[in-house]
Subunit: 268 residues, 2 copies
């Protein structure tokens, strides 16, 4: 079993130093809980609700800067895989809504740039131009997408077909109304996506209110069987022990196979 | 608003006459409830749990035979759109797991043959070779897929992109264990699929036990917002009034569009 942690945090808009501390405390807490993998929210280094591109760019950090180096040190010290969202100052001068994948040795294995920018993000960020990475780690193959990307089933299918056993999803889900007793709608999407792809999904959401926008606080860990193994509505950590081997086996019954039964020629 | 009904029935294995009566009674009940659209289960004319291809073929009926003519008469008499599963004796001599779409005039507008055959169905049926139909009716565009097809997000996305406002899903869901308090997993998949595609989904499941196989009884009607509007675990009908116009509008916010934000070049 693999111990997966998601950290539901409330970063401070634009305060990179405070958010770096917040993220490092969250990594220490996860390590203390024996996590093998920990996921931090989208844009945890910067907050989300920027007024304009200039304010956003001012809170951006390079992928090879000190915050991600500190994440790498935390990963190496504990042997954890760390996935977290950050506001990236690209070497090309563009600002990206990105996520880092740091493996258990502390190596920065991938920087993913969000492909599907949500609403006003289009005014702040340059969209990514590369498919989500699927990274071989000591716990298995870990992929990453960010928030709204999860609403594109073509993308999550591609990630699963590429062999991902655990899909890490740093998110910032704006709170939307939902019927009494229902989970956040994005969690329902994660459950369905996990089930049809036989792939575990760990969503690290955020909490708090920024400039009038309230966040959902819907962090959840979903097994490759599609069921929620852990979730939280509070600030802090949710942890679950997940069987990532299940994601290697797409055989559903003697004659049914989740991937082998696809009819790609019919999907036009 | 469009009144959508799903009929959760328990057909008798191999008894075509009894099942025809059962389906016609279900159509009368739906008409009496003022339904604009009614969905019947997969293979409602035949039952499901055949021992072999010969037994299955013996229960197959032609698309232009008397059972579907009776469905057409019921549709025309009430002005309802009727979607139902049947065991089809193809003119080519093959047996198909099919579904008919009859519009409000009584015209048989489409016969869909299941593309993704589940497990032992592969020993009984020839798989379909054509994409799911999207049929213009008086309530809007109605599409149909069958049961396991729903587990292929590439297919449901195609149907949504083709303009479907309501996806009718005749199903036979074998009962599987689920955590206390959870909906059937297939309903969760339907909810996620409805939400990301902004398309209503009506699943007509079955009940009963056939040759040791127990059915889920998970019929549900999900709005284009992804929330369950009606569901039942008993034999009989569930009804909900659904706004199918919502499915015409994929604009999520000022700058977010469920379809316009796709990045097809990244889905390889």
């Amino acid at each position: 079993m693999t111990r997966v942690a998601v950290q539901q945090l409330a970063p401070v808009l634009g305060d990179v130093d405070a958010n770096a501390e917040l993220s490092l405390a969250a990594l220490r807490e996860a390590a203390g809980a024996g996590a093998d993998v920990v996921v931090l929210p989208e844009l945890v280094t910067s907050g989300y609700r920027f007024a304009d591109a200039e304010e956003c760019a001012a809170a951006a950090i390079p992928a090879d800067g000190e915050v991600l180096r500190a994440w790498s040190q935390a990963a190496a010290a504990s042997g954890m895989v760390v996935v977290g969202g950050f506001c990236e100052a690209g070497p090309d001068g563009n600002t990206y809504n990105s996520a880092a994948v740091v493996d258990e040795t502390g190596a920065l294995r991938a920087v993913y740039r969000k492909l599907h920018l949500w609403d006003g993000e289009k005014r702040l960020f340059t969209p990514g131009a590369e498919a989500p990475p699927v990274v071989d780690t000591r716990v298995g193959k870990v992929a990453v997408i960010i928030c709204y990307d999860l609403e594109f089933p073509e993308l999550t299918r591609c990630v699963a077909l590429a062999g991902a056993q655990l899909l890490a999803v740093p998110t910032n889900w704006p709170l939307t109304p939902r019927p009494d007793g229902e989970r956040p709608p994005e969690t329902v999407v994660a459950m369905g996506t996990a089930r049809v792809n036989r792939m575990a999904i760990a969503c690290a959401d955020r909490l708090g209110t920024e400039r009038g926008l309230e966040w959902t606080g819907g962090s959840s860990i979903v097994g490759a069987d599609g069921w929620v193994a852990a979730e939280t509505r509070a600030v802090g950590m949710a942890v679950a022990d997940i069987d990532l081997d299940l994601a290697l086996d797409k055989q559903l019954t003697e004659l049914a196979h989740a991937f082998g039964d696809r009819r790609p020629e019919m999907y036009d």
